[in-house]
Symmetry: C2
Subunit: 379 residues, 2 copies
């Protein structure tokens, strides 16, 4: 490891790519003829292949969860605070796998990939993915890596949904399921926010029905708005108040329709702008749809306990007090169903002012609880 | 009154227009050379001119608060449940005045009016208005109607802010201030939601810098998105869950990027579409700016109690348990400041599942409390 990196970092990491030639049947009825997954690994797989941990990412996440891609990379992977030597997901103990999901825009096959049937980017022709589809594709990745059973599957938000789906779809292949700041399904309000984001993209004149790439443009305005509205739901009212309050951008008010008056406006515009330059609009639509569709209990008349009846994994569920996107009440729905199904479950509600984003933030009590659970996992 | 109207309705009403030729100086530093206000009145002004009540409207409101404009009007005015004979604002007792605010798009001078200086619609050249500006224009309307002092000024949400500003700006001209589902200023999150709505409009290619009228188009997409995001904040998570849950639009999922899958999506799109056909985009920007700017305590180093020191009116403050746009905590800020300033204040938190919209809904306990307060007002 380069001495340039912090001691508790996994250091320099190199993404890897695996190609899968077997068609993957999807929930939508279509299938992907072949596809590739980009992933990173941290730590070493032990001889018994019993120490593998899968990281599932959330809406705008990707495979680069920890470490650095180069010595001059400004920021480490998105969950670097939780993955590394001595960190909650301790790479001295675990072999950690983190992938970019199918439909993503960071190297795995997705809407911006070339459609072999046409030689052009898939764009909006890329099939809609579900959490179940992702879990099946992740199971093939596990096979390829020689991982018969995960010591743990871990995820926050949409990532937590994938962890839950693993426990349901492949009960014998997962020993521990960690679902953080997650929910058993979206509420009407959650779907409504997603729909605003989608409409912003779909109605952007530069979306061109999802085939903007062929025209050399991007629906920048739509993506910007989608990110802005998303961002509000990731932060708590208190966190925004603490961070920006009613602070002004300049010394006095401009009193016009278009000026940035308040710091919070400036922050949101910046977040939106930055995001629109790095994220694919079709992937954003796909990710919000995967969130909307996730509802494993639907096949059991809404009975979540029954849905979880076949689960063999032990669960660790964590939530954050000021998270209003997936509030603690949503996590307790999962916990209550697990208890009703007589499963092993640990639940922790972390006092944190940061809202939904808290799961990405190194909050001491959160890291301690996370470490404590992971340390007890037998390998 | 036509027998076609319900017995407790004010019946047929006709909007009236008053023209003001004295320039109105505005907070932005500009002034309106002349302007007109459209308003309605219900009930009769008594000989002592002591029974007048002013209704202040919220973001998308207007002068038509009660009764019907014609025998075949499908729905009565927007606050018909609260204004009429025997209703909380009892027209057998009170003379009720309801206007469309300056900058509006329902008949009062606003961005869609002709700018006498150019002969074209003002568009984005219309000056930004503040709650204080509105109150000054309302004071001129009161003068014209012979109302020296309001028995009460009443409003919900942004309307409640105007009622508060009346008590601050014209302490001797208001005996009772009713601020319902309101707040002493917007939070960073409130401003953030407004900013998303504004960006949706401002970045719509058919906004043309606010001069879309001259081109015969409207920024329909922007207005639609603005209304959709606004609408989510008017309803509680529970109310949306109750109303739509995860109910599907058709029998099964379509699994594509653009289809309406859930009823809540369909509802939001309808609300957005309908709104974009009837509301002016520049007025929407102006209203959200007026909300953002409202902060009467800013002139007193944020000390709301000191801001209210000169108030003479008695206050009635009401909030609704599931309102997360202006939560009960925001109303309690007003109440606490009034108590600290040793003013008379009544506070009621109504248990209601409907969120911010509750102030428009005939909830029995709300109507009873509202009536009870209004009945005790001496005229």
């Amino acid at each position: 490891m380069s001495t340039a990196f912090p001691q508790d970092s996994v250091g320099l990491v190199t993404p890897q790519v695996l190609h899968f030639a077997d068609p993957l049947p999807l929930a939508c009825g279509r299938s992907l003829a072949d596809y590739q997954l980009v992933y990173e690994t941290y730590g070493e797989l032990n001889a018994a292949c019993s120490n593998a941990v899968l990281i599932c990412h959330a809406l705008s996440g990707h495979h680069h969860a920890a470490g650095y891609h180069s010595a001059d990379e400004r920021k480490p992977g998105w969950w670097d605070s939780c993955i590394g030597p001595g960190k909650p997901i301790d790479t001295n103990k675990f072999f950690v796998v983190s992938l970019n999901n199918l439909g993503g825009c960071n190297g795995s096959t997705g809407p911006s990939s070339l459609n072999p049937a046409t030689g052009k980017p898939f764009g909006a022709d890329f099939p809609v993915m579900t959490v179940e589809d992702w879990v099946h594709s992740q199971a093939r990745l596990a096979d390829a890596l020689g991982v018969g059973q995960w010591a743990a599957v871990v995820g926050g938000s949409l990532g937590g949904m994938q962890a839950m789906q693993w426990a349901i779809s492949y009960p014998e292949r997962i020993r521990h399921c960690l679902a953080i700041a997650s929910a058993p399904k979206l509420s009407a309000q959650n779907i409504a926010f997603n729909e605003v984001a989608r409409q912003a993209i779909l109605t952007d004149p530069e979306f061109y029905g999802g085939h903007f790439q062929e025209r050399g443009v991007i629906p920048k305005r739509g993506l910007m708005l989608a990110r802005m509205v998303g961002h509000i739901t990731y932060l708590s009212d208190d966190a925004m108040g603490e961070k920006f309050g009613r602070g002004l951008k300049s010394e006095k008010l401009n009193y016009d329709f278009h000026s940035v008056e308040f710091q919070v406006e400036s922050y949101l515009r910046y977040q939106g702008e930055e995001f629109s330059g790095r994220f694919d609009a079709n992937t954003y639509l796909l990710m919000t749809k995967a969130l909307d569709y996730f509802d494993p209990a639907a096949a059991f008349d809404g009975n979540l306990a029954q849905t979880l009846a076949g689960v063999q994994a032990d669960f660790c569920v964590m939530s954050f007090t000021t998270d209003w996107r997936f509030s603690p009440a949503r996590s307790r729905e999962i916990v209550d169903a697990l208890i009703a199904a007589r499963k092993n479950v640990c639940y922790l509600e972390i006092d944190a002012p940061q809202g939904h984003d808290a799961f990405l933030i190194p909050i001491p009590r959160y890291l301690q609880a996370f470490s404590s659970y992971m340390n007890r996992i037998a390998i």
